[in-house]
Amino acid sequence: MSSAMDRLISDSVVTVDGLVFDYPTQRALFSVTCRVDRATITALVGPNGAGKTTLLRCIAGLETPFAGSVSVAGLDVLAEPRRAHQYIGFLQDFFGLYDDLTVRQCLLFHAAANGIGKAARRRAVERTAERLDLQDRLNQTAGTLSRGLRQRLAIAQAIIHEPDVILLDEPAAGLDPEARENLSALLRQLRDGGMTLIVSSHILTELEDYSTHMLILRDGRVVEHCPINGDATAVRRLRLVLSRAVDGLGEALTTRSGVSNVGGADPVSASFDFGGDLNAQHNLLSDLLTAGLPVAALSEEQRSMHQVYRERLRRDGSDETGRGAA
C-alpha cells in the first residue's frame, strides 16, 4: 500500500465501506463509502429522505446495516458496538433530557453512564460545563432551560466522555440566530480541541461557517465528498477571462489536463473544474499563454456551499438521466 494511502487511512477516524441499509420496503443506503479525517467538521447534506439520519445512526452503532462495514477510531462498529460507543458522542435531531434532574445531575449521570470513574466525574462535569458555558446553570433543572441551553446541555452530555467523533443530527433546528452563532463557535472549538464532527443539517449557510468538508447524499448514495475551502489539492472551480473574444474557447479548455466540466463558455470567459494544485494551475496558465490565448485573468471561483450543493445535485441528476437513457 502506498504511503499516501497509509496516511489517508491513518488520518481517517471514521471509515464507512460499502454500507447498505434496508427498510422493509425500500433501500435507504446503497453501498455508501466514505472516510472522514480526524479534527474535521463534515457537513452531511442532502434532500429529505437522502439517508442522512440512517447513515449517522449506522455510524453511531444504533442500527445494524444489511451489508458493509463501519469503523470509528479503528474499531469495527458492527462487531463491537459497545466498545465503539466509548469513542462516539451522538446528538439526535429530536433529543430528550431528564427534565426533573438538574444540569449537574444530568452531566453526572452521563459521566457515570459513560464509564468515567467516581473520582474523575466531578472534574469532567466542571470541565464540560465550562466548555459549554453552563457553569452558572448547574443547579437549574433541565426542564426549565431555554431551547438554546437545552441544546448546549445535550451536546455537553454527548461529549462529557471526550469522544473522538461527535455526530450531530440537525443541531441548529429551532435555535434563534444568536444561539446558532454560539453553536457554530462551539463546534469550531470542539474541532480545534481535536474532535471530529459530522453534522447533518439543512441550513447550508450555517454549515458553511464551520464545516471543513461536505458529504452530499442523494437517494442513499454519496454524490460528493469534498473539502469546502482551502485544500489546494482538491478539485476547484476556476474562472478564465480573456482580453478579447476567441472562438472555440470551450473546446480549447476541454483538451487540457485536469480540466473538466467546462461551463458558461462564451468567447471571452469560461468556468471549469480543475483537479490540480497551484503548480498545475501555473502550468495550465503557461500552456494557455503559449497557445496564444489572450488571458486576462485565471482565478478560483469562490462558490458558496449552497452553490456547490445545488450544482452537484443538478449534475448528479443529469448523470442519472444519462444513465437512464443509456
Binding site: G18, V20, D22, Y23, P24, T25, Q26, R27, S31, A60, G61, L62, T64, P65, F66, A67, G68, S69, L78, A79, P81, R82, H85, Q86, I88, F90, Q92, F94, F95, G96, L97, Y98, D100, L101, Q105, F109, H110, A112, A113, N114, G115, Q157, A158
Partner: protein
C-alpha cells in the same frame, strides 16, 4: 453505584415525595382505623402494599423503558457504557424505588396496627382466610411483595418486547403492559387454590411426587417466575444494548416450562397408570411448547430483513450468526416437534391407544405451520400492527367462523376437521387437507418474499 439506579433515585426520591408518601399513607390508614378498627387499618395497609407494588409498580416499571423512548432519551442510554445486567436491575428497582418505599411503610403500619388490635388475618392456612388469629401473618405481605416483584419484572419484560417492534402510541402501550403484568401477578396474591384450580378447593399439590400446600407452591412458583422474568428482561436488554444474544435463554425457558407444568398433579392425575402418566406428561409438554411456539411467532419482530438475514446465515452455515438470528419460534417449534414424536410413539405402544391420536397431533403441527406461514405472509413487509391484526382476523375466520358455518349447514364432521383440530376421525382426512392449507400458506409467504426480495440480493449481510 449503578448509574441508572442512581439517576432513578435522583428522579424518584425528592424531599417532597419522601415526605408526602408517609403522610398520605398514614392518613389513609388512620381513616380506616377511625371508620373501623385497628384490624381494618391493618387490612387497608396490606391492600395498599398490593396497590403500590402491583398496580403502580407495574406501570413505573413499564414506563422505565417505554417512557425513555417517548422522551427520546433511550438512544443515549443504548450508547452508554452501562451493561445489560446493570441496566436491567437499575431500571427494575430504580424506577420503582418510590413504591417500594411506600410498601415498606405500609408493612410497618400493618404490623403495628395488627399488634394494637391483637389479632390478624391469616391467609396462609387453607380455609382460614376469614378467621382472626392473634398473630401477624407474614405470608400475606410476603405474597404481595413477591407478586409485586413479578408484576414489575413482567411489565419491564413486556415493555422491552414491545420496544423490539419499534411501536407507536407508546403511552397506550404502557397501560397495556401494566394491565398484562397485573393480570399475570394478581392470582399469586389470592392464594394457591385460586391460581391452580379456580373453581374447586384443593388441599395439596404434588409436583413430581413432592407434596406442597397450595399457598406454598404458589409462592415458590411466583419466585421461580420472578427469576425467569428478570432473566428474560436481561436477555432483551442485551438485544437492546446490541450485545450478541442467542436463543439459549429462550431454549432454556422452552425446556423449563413444560417440565415444570407437566410435573404438577392436582387430584386427577394421581389415579393414572404409569404408562398413561408418561403419555400425559409428553402431551402436556407438547401443548405447552406448541403454545410457546405461537406466542413467540406472534410476539417476535418479523419482517423480510430478519428472515433474509436468518436464511443467509443458515445458508452460510455460520453457527455464531445462526445462534443470534434464529427466530425464537423455531426453537420452540423444534422442541414441540420432539414432544409430538414422543407422544405419538407412546400412544402407539400403549394398551389403550386412542384412534386417530397420531393424526390429531400431526394435524396440530400442520395447523401451526399454516398459521405461522400466514403470519409471515402478512407481516413480511414490516407492517406489524396491521399484519398481526389481519392474521388474527384470518385465524378467527379459519378456526371459528368457517367451522361454525359448515356445522350450521349440517355438513360432515370430517369437513369441519379441515379447519378445526379434533380428535378422532380418519387419519388421512384429518391431515391431508390441513397439509394442503399449510402448503398454500407457505406459497403465499413465498410470493410475498419474492415481491420484496429485489431489495438486496447482491450484498452479503454485515457481520453483526
Amino acid at each position: 453505584m449503578n448509574p441508572e439506579f442512581m439517576r432513578n433515585l435522583w428522579s424518584e426520591l425528592s424531599a417532597h415525595r419522601l415526605i408526602a408518601m408517609p403522610l398520605v399513607l398514614g392518613l389513609v390508614v388512620a381513616v380506616a382505623w377511625v371508620g373501623g378498627s385497628a384490624g381494618t387499618a391493618a387490612w387497608v395497609a396490606n391492600a395498599a402494599i398490593g396497590v403500590l407494588l402491583i398496580l403502580w409498580g407495574a406501570r413505573l416499571s413499564a414506563d422505565s423503558v417505554l417512557g425513555e423512548v417517548v422522551d427520546r432519551t433511550w438512544d443515549s442510554q443504548r450508547m452508554s457504557a452501562i451493561g445489560p445486567w446493570a441496566m436491567t436491575w437499575g431500571k427494575l428497582f430504580g424506577s420503582t424505588v418510590y413504591v417500594w418505599y411506600g410498601a415498606f411503610l405500609c408493612l410497618v403500619l400493618a404490623f403495628v396496627t395488627t399488634h394494637i388490635q391483637g389479632t390478624g388475618y391469616v391467609m396462609s392456612v387453607p380455609r382460614a382466610a376469614d378467621r382472626l388469629l392473634p398473630v401477624f401473618d407474614w405470608w400475606l405481605p410476603v405474597k404481595i411483595f413477591a407478586a409485586g416483584v413479578l408484576a414489575q419484572a413482567l411489565a419491564l419484560f413486556v415493555a422491552l418486547l414491545l420496544l423490539r417492534g419499534r411501536p407507536s402510541k407508546l403511552r397506550l402501550r404502557v397501560t397495556l403492559t401494566q394491565a398484562l403484568a397485573i393480570a399475570a401477578a394478581s392470582p399469586f396474591v389470592f392464594g394457591g387454590s385460586l391460581f391452580f384450580s379456580p373453581f374447586t378447593e384443593i388441599s395439596q399439590i404434588q409436583w413430581y411426587g413432592i407434596d406442597f400446600p397450595p399457598h406454598q407452591f404458589a409462592l415458590i412458583t411466583n419466585l421461580v417466575f420472578v427469576g425467569w422474568a428478570v432473566f428474560g428482561c436481561y436477555c432483551l436488554m442485551r438485544l437492546e444494548l446490541q450485545c450478541r444474544t442467542g436463543f439459549l435463554g429462550w431454549l432454556c425457558f422452552t425446556l423449563f416450562l413444560p417440565i415444570y407444568l407437566a410435573g404438577i398433579e392436582v387430584d386427577r392425575l394421581g389415579a393414572l397408570r404409569p404408562a398413561e402418566r408418561a403419555l400425559d406428561w409428553w402431551l402436556t409438554a407438547f401443548q405447552v411448547t406448541l403454545a410457546l411456539t405461537y406466542i413467540a411467532a406472534f410476539v417476535e419482530p418479523k419482517g423480510i430483513l430478519r428472515l433474509r438475514r436468518w436464511l443467509h446465515d443458515l445458508a452460510t452455515g455460520s453457527y455464531e450468526r445462526v445462534r443470534t438470528s434464529t427466530p425464537s419460534w423455531v426453537v420452540s417449534g423444534a422442541i414441540c416437534f420432539i414432544c409430538a414424536v414422543a407422544a405419538i410413539a407412546l400412544s402407539a405402544t400403549g394398551a389403550d391407544a386412542v384412534p386417530g391420536f397420531a393424526a390429531f397431533i400431526v394435524a396440530l403441527m400442520l395447523f401451526a405451520v399454516r398459521d405461522i406461514a400466514l403470519l409471515y405472509a402478512l407481516t413480511l413487509d414490516g407492517r406489524r400492527r396491521r399484519g398481526h391484526l389481519a392474521a388474527l382476523v384470518y385465524l378467527a375466520v379459519l378456526y371459528v367462523l368457517l367451522p361454525a358455518l359448515l356445522a350450521g349447514a349440517g355438513l360432515d364432521d370430517e369437513l369441519i376437521r379441515m379447519f378445526r383440530p379434533e380428535l378422532g376421525g380418519d387419519p388421512l382426512q384429518s391431515t391431508v387437507p390441513v397439509a394442503a392449507q399449510a402448503l398454500a400458506a407457505l406459497a403465499l409467504a413465498a410470493i410475498k418474499w419474492r415481491r420484496l426480495r429485489p431489495l438486496g440480493d447482491s450484498e452479503q449481510p454485515a457481520a453483526a
